[in-house]
């Protein structure tokens, strides 16, 4: 658990370099970091994504599909456009009257432009790198987070139902997310390739059924 902690500054430092090399096969670096290096077929996208999900970290926890990075780039950039309403709204306000100065509109515009660029480049990559999950008979263990690093434990006994979900962007990339609902909250394991997501869903619901019978 502490290892995860120490890892953070490092990954934050080298992420910009990584970003520039993004178009080249990323697998190499990832594999070098992870406990189980796998051999690659660099040209093939499919092979790439399925291998990413087979990777385990030093605790034996799994990664998400590597396609997540590209899917999140698109959804993140699109989502960040929503925040553009703030500088645009302010701009409209400052045009209409003398009361509001114009310069904050430009400052905000630059900030939000930067944000969109980051969402379209580095952020999804770091997010992917940080995301790990582990499911066994007893519990679901999630580690994630860019700014707020979070680890969550959900006992299998508490799982009420499991769903897979797929939005338009995920569908484009052959991805799906698994959502786990308890009596008190909901947790999502995002961006798994479809077969992995289906398998995980049936595995969790099977474990949950067994755990309930044991009660």
């Amino acid at each position: 658990m502490n290892d995860q902690h120490n890892q953070k500054p490092e990954s934050q430092q080298d992420s910009p370099d990584r970003e520039s090399r993004q178009d080249k096969p990323v697998d190499k670096e990832k594999a070098a970091e992870s406990a189980e290096p796998a051999e690659h077929a660099e040209s093939m996208e499919d092979a790439k994504s399925s291998r990413a999900e087979e990777l385990r970290d030093e605790h034996g926890h799994r990664y998400l599909s590597h396609e997540a990075v590209n899917a999140w780039r698109i959804s993140g950039a699109l989502g960040s456009l929503f925040y553009w309403l703030i500088p645009l709204g302010y701009g409209a306000l400052s045009m209409s009257g003398d009361l509001w100065p114009e310069w904050p509109a430009y400052v905000l515009g630059v900030i939000f432009l930067g944000f969109t660029v980051l969402e379209a480049t580095v952020i999804p990559w770091i997010r992917w790198k940080r995301w790990r999950y582990h499911v066994d008979r007893n519990e679901i263990d999630l580690r994630r987070g860019l700014f707020v690093v979070t680890r969550t434990l959900i006992p299998i006994k508490r799982v009420q139902h499991v769903d897979t979900r797929q939005g338009p962007v995920y569908r484009q990339f052959g991805l799906a997310s698994v959502t786990v609902t308890t009596a008190g909250d909901m947790h999502e394991i995002p961006a798994l390739s479809e077969p992995v997501a289906d398998e995980l869903r049936s595995k969790i619901s099977e474990y949950a059924r067994i755990a309930r019978e044991d009660l």
């Binding site: 007893n138 690093v149 508490r158 009596a183």
Partner: protein, 551 residues
């Protein structure tokens, strides 16, 4: 005595259903005798089986409610609409609106009354095949069949209208929040008893809950109630209501007129006008929350039996709430900022499950002395009467608490100060926020031992939550970038509460608690108690109670 005789029903429901019903010999009641040996629940009253009207009118036939149900519908709808009506009155043109002429009012009332009559005509209930079957609706027929084994309990209560006619309201509580819950709003007591007998579930009514003599009953005294009401400070809702009314007044009397008035009276300036305005608004909000609390909690009593808590409260309309112990997820003790100096707190439980009132955060005692808490918990919620080792945030967390409190407050204060040119507001808010940040830091604590955990945190009110590990839905440990730099983390616990959940979080604890909490909650269960602790919580002292009134 039975009203049933006066309204033998030939319901307007489709004939097919009537025939089916007629063919069935009320099976549920035939297999049940009053002295059924299975029925050995401790708080079951034997008194009701005698005057059951089974002989006269079979409850397997579709039956209507008492006609008073029409009126209860009208009053219930009016009560639900009271806030929109007030809003329309104040936000609209007030008296000029056509809605508020005699014609408008009588039209509204007659529409309600006709709807009520139609609803009454179309509403039938019966007990058939071990199910309570309710059918209703004019255009869309709604059938709600509640099978016996889904029924958790039957609550019998009565509002003023029911009492006037010697009737009761019957609520069917089912297991699981999503499953149907049925209500029959006006039937005779004997019909209610017949339903209960046919379905073989125990009835919960005031008489029964208080027959139990081995457990104490907690009631609120007048003095205590008044104290609770005057320190309630539920300002959020109250202020918004006052705000709308004030805005309305603004339309009637313009700001200039009011300023003129104030100047001629006390020679005030704009700033003074606003201060007076704020003071008046706060006063009005305070009065509103005072009366709200008085209405809500007068006649509050809490009793229990071996399996559930039973609450009665309310001035005009008596509310009855039943909380089975196995649904309680956590106990929350809230010391409001006005109450804490006097050593008072309010006690809530978080409960999963059913009902409007029973399935979420419920007040189990409106105002209790902190030193009476140990006794109260051991009487009413013994599983939560615990003392647990815990830790407080380390000294380096102090700055994080300060920043988190002071920065947002200062931003808000600067905007207000800039807008109104009240520059003195900035240092005042700065000092106030600094003090709050300090008490937030001082009061935060979290810990666990074996099966129980606790958390204490403060926004304005200080909240202490005690929960059981087996009731937790999930545990998260979070650390943002600032926290990681200082080796701090936050712990977040989720328990079920109503249909969703309740989250409790303690911020900026030392990073070492991460592995302790994960080890305690994780399936491996490697940690039983924290390695180093800073004391024992919750730190209520144990003293004799002054308000216990044994029944």
């Amino acid at each position: 005595m039975s009203f049933a005789a006066r309204y033998p029903s030939t319901p307007g429901s489709p004939g097919k259903i009537c025939e089916e019903a007629a063919m069935t010999e009320h099976p549920a009641s035939s297999e049940k005798t009053p002295d059924d040996p299975r029925d050995n629940t401790p708080n079951r009253s034997q008194g009701y089986s005698g005057n059951s009207p089974r002989g006269s009118l079979p409850i397997s036939r579709p039956r209507r409610q008492h006609p008073v149900a029409t009126l209860t519908f009208v009053f219930r709808t009016l009560r639900e609409l009271i806030i929109p009506i007030i809003l329309i009155f104040f936000l609209g043109q007030g008296g000029q609106s056509p809605l508020f002429t005699w014609w408008g009012i009588s039209l509204m009332l007659s529409v309600l009354l006709v709807t009520g009559i139609v609803n009454w005509l179309r509403f039938t209930w019966r007990v058939e095949d071990d199910e309570l079957r309710i059918e209703q609706g004019l255009l869309v027929r709604k059938k709600r069949y509640v099978p016996r084994d889904r029924i958790q309990a039957i609550d019998i209560s009565s509002g003023p209208l029911q009492r006037m006619f010697g009737l009761v309201r019957l609520n069917v509580l089912t297991a699981g929040g999503s499953s149907p819950e049925a209500q029959i709003s006006a039937i005779t007591r004997s019909d209610a008893d017949a339903i209960q007998e046919a379905l073989q579930v125990e009835v919960r009514g005031p008489e029964i809950a208080e027959q139990e003599s081995s457990y104490p009953v907690y009631r609120i005294s007048r003095k205590r109630l008044l104290l609770a009401a005057s320190t309630a400070g539920s300002f959020g809702i109250a202020l918004s209501i006052v705000g709308t009314i004030m805005a309305q007044i603004n339309q009637v009397i313009s700001e200039e007129q009011m300023l003129d008035f104030l100047e001629s009276w006390i020679g005030g300036t704009t700033a003074e006008f606003w201060i007076i305005f704020v003071v008046l608004a706060v006063l009005a909000a305070w009065l509103l929350s005072l009366f709200g609390t008085l209405l809500r909690f007068s006649g509050f009593s809490l009793s229990r039996n071996g399996r559930e808590l039973y609450i009665r409260r309310g001035l005009f309309e008596k509310k009855q709430i039943t909380i089975p112990y196995h649904r309680i997820q956590a106990v929350r003790v809230v010391e409001g900022i006005l109450r804490q100096p006097f050593g008072f707190a309010m006690v809530y439980v978080e409960n999963a499950g059913f009902g409007d009132e029973g399935g979420k955060t419920t007040v189990v005692f409106p105002l209790i002395r902190k030193r009476e808490l140990r006794q109260f918990l051991s009487d009413m919620l013994p599983e939560y009467d615990v003392a647990l080792p815990g830790v407080r945030p380390p000294g380096r967390a102090f700055l994080r608490y300060q920043i988190r409190t002071v920065v947002p407050a200062l931003v808000a204060a600067s905007l207000v100060a800039w807008y109104f040119a009240f520059y003195w507001l900035i240092p005042v808010i700065f000092i106030a926020a600094g003090l709050i940040g300090y008490i937030r830091y001082r009061d935060a604590a979290a810990g666990f031992e074996d099966k129980n955990g606790f958390m204490r945190f403060r926004r304005l009110a200080r909240t202490t939550v005690v929960f059981q590990r087996r009731r937790m839905q999930s545990l998260s440990v979070l650390a943002n970038w600032f926290q990681r730099r200082k080796q701090l983390c936050s712990v977040l616990v989720v328990v079920a509460s109503g249909k969703s959940g309740a989250e409790f979080q303690v911020d900026h604890l030392d990073e070492s608690v991460r592995n302790e909490w994960l080890g305690w909650y994780g399936a491996a269960g490697t940690v039983a108690r924290p390695e180093s602790t800073a004391g024992t919580w919750p730190d209520w002292q144990n003293v004799e109670l002054s308000i216990t009134a044994d029944s």
